[in-house]
Amino acid sequence: MMQSDIYNVNVGPIHPSTHGGLHAEAVMDGEIIQDVIVHLGYVHRSVEKIAESKTYQQFVPYTARLDYLATNLPVLGYCQAVEKLLGIEVPERAEYIRIIMAELSRIASHQIAISATGIDLGATTGLMYGMRDRERIMNIFEMTGGQRLLSSYIRIGGVGADIPDEFIPAVQSFVNDIPKMMDEYNGLMTGNEIWEARMKGVGILSKEDAVKYGVTGPNLRASGIAYDIRKAEPYGIYDRFDFDIPARSGGDSLDRWNIRIEELGESGRIIQQALDNLPEGEVKAKIPKVLKAEAGTEVYHRIESAKGELGYYIVSDGGNKPYRLHVRAPSFINLMVLPLVCRGGVFQDLITNIATLDPILGESDR
């Protein structure tokens, strides 16, 4: 073939479809991507370092700012990690509320993923529908925590306050509408021939590679491994719920996309069960004003966040602040396969792949 120039194109850091601060440098040969160099650190806010200067409680709001699309999930993970570290028992009712909030967050995150994929692929209307449905979740968050996005509701030892009266009807009606939403996304986007052509066989991540790179979450499940920490190593009270783990085998963008839509339904199922079994009682355990762990104790706690395995590793030196805190951010690890899945594709596939890998830069750069 005719030799053409190998040239580098910078996608990002300020680019509409890099999900905030990702800088992917595509090495292109004509229209073919030869390699992608991922530059990270544009959103590095030194969160792990900040953690060392904050008490255990004070750090809670920061965790919400890691994966801000699924606010309650990183907070839940952190709180559970600290509870594990300190041996705090969480009241039953709080556990159920937490599950509801966590799954709502998962839905919100997936809806953002759906919307963002929509706009990245040019289906602006898809974005609007996704965001529209997400607003209902935002309302529920505002109802409980007081803020739309970073609701700051889950606390160490439980949740901030009991749910208000209008909470259950709102959640119930949202859950009832989930199948309708899924139909709409599928009708507008998934079933669309253009959509399918843009996604099918694009950015294939094989089972082996996914495992090798440590990819988790929907991306891993799209590659054919039905691995979900909610099932594999149930935390909280997830073992009480009956739900499925959707898995596909292709590992391409379409599968990753479909997995997310299917997970909406599964999350809906979990919320429904939690609503049905919601017990009465306290929502926050009695915890001391100053939390201190024994010196030298350490804990690693992982949960299934919307993006994959989110782990917190906390080391204590006996003070009221963590000695060291590390976050195993799923986005960071999932993002590492971006060059792998993009190689050999065309330029537009890069955008598709970024969208369907659904990284959150706040989490991966920390």
Binding site: E142, G146, S152, G160, N192
Partner: protein, 229 residues
């Protein structure tokens, strides 16, 4: 396949075309906010006991206050309370921690400013608080006098620091407030008088202040005319 998906998509958008819009018309219609909505952090000076829990629980050093130990009682006296709102992350920890419920979030979210300095709020000790206390306190003449003097000094300081806020209680027009504060800056005597009156007799203070303003206005008008001629 074969375009059925495309047609279905067209159908969906067409359906939505005729559906009702979900838009909320914000500036015309205020949004319905949840009761727990956290807009702007408000502080009630009167209730605060200066215990410092809020300051300690805030993750980001948003809150700070100045206290003064008074001689006659062991209690700390709160002089000013600062909310440096630009660092707040609306986590509600301070509100939950406060034993006296003097912090709360209201529903005001329209906080935009043209200058970064306007974001910070400083709450100064309102004068009435001390007055009420005085009424309760035992009437020891000398002590009271010295106390009064102190109050006047504090008031003077406050007046110099933030005249608008205090004067706003006496004067209605913003223009007048500006004039008076200017006047006070240039003339210490006036400031002293107003501070004294403020501490002693509120109504009289208002009257005097109004008088000052009208006088100054006249002066200025004349000065302007003179300039023109």
């Amino acid at each position: 396949m074969n375009g059925q998906g495309l047609i279905k998509g067209l159908g969906i958008t067409l359906k939505h075309f005729f559906q009702k819009e979900i838009t909320e018309q914000y500036p015309d219609v205020m949004p319905e906010l949840a009761t727990r909505f956290r807009g702007c952090l408000q502080f009630e000076f009167e209730k605060c006991i200066a215990c410092g829990i809020c300051v300690n629980s805030c993750p980001n050093n948003v809150l700070s206050f100045e206290t003064e130990k008074s001689e006659n009682s062991k209690k700390k006296k709160l002089l000013s309370y600062t909310i440096d709102f630009q660092y707040c992350m609306f986590c509600n920890l301070c509100v939950e921690g406060c034993p006296k419920d003097c912090l709360h979030f209201d529903h005001d979210f329209e906080l935009s400013t043209f200058s970064r300095d306007d974001i910070k709020r400083v709450y100064l000790r309102p004068a009435e608080m001390d007055e009420e206390k005085e009424a309760d306190a035992a009437p020891v003449q000398d002590e009271q006098e010295s106390k009064e003097q102190k109050q006047i000094d504090a008031m003077l300081k406050a007046l110099q620091k933030n005249p608008q806020k205090i004067l706003a209680k006496m004067l209605e027009q913003e223009e007048d407030i500006g004039i008076l504060s200017e006047l006070m800056q240039s003339n210490e005597k006036t400031a002293g008088k107003i501070a004294e009156l403020l501490v002693k007799d509120k109504e009289k203070a208002a009257k005097v202040a109004a008088g000052f303003v009208t006088k100054e206005k006249k002066n200025r008008l004349q000065a302007e005319k003179g300039g023109e001629e």
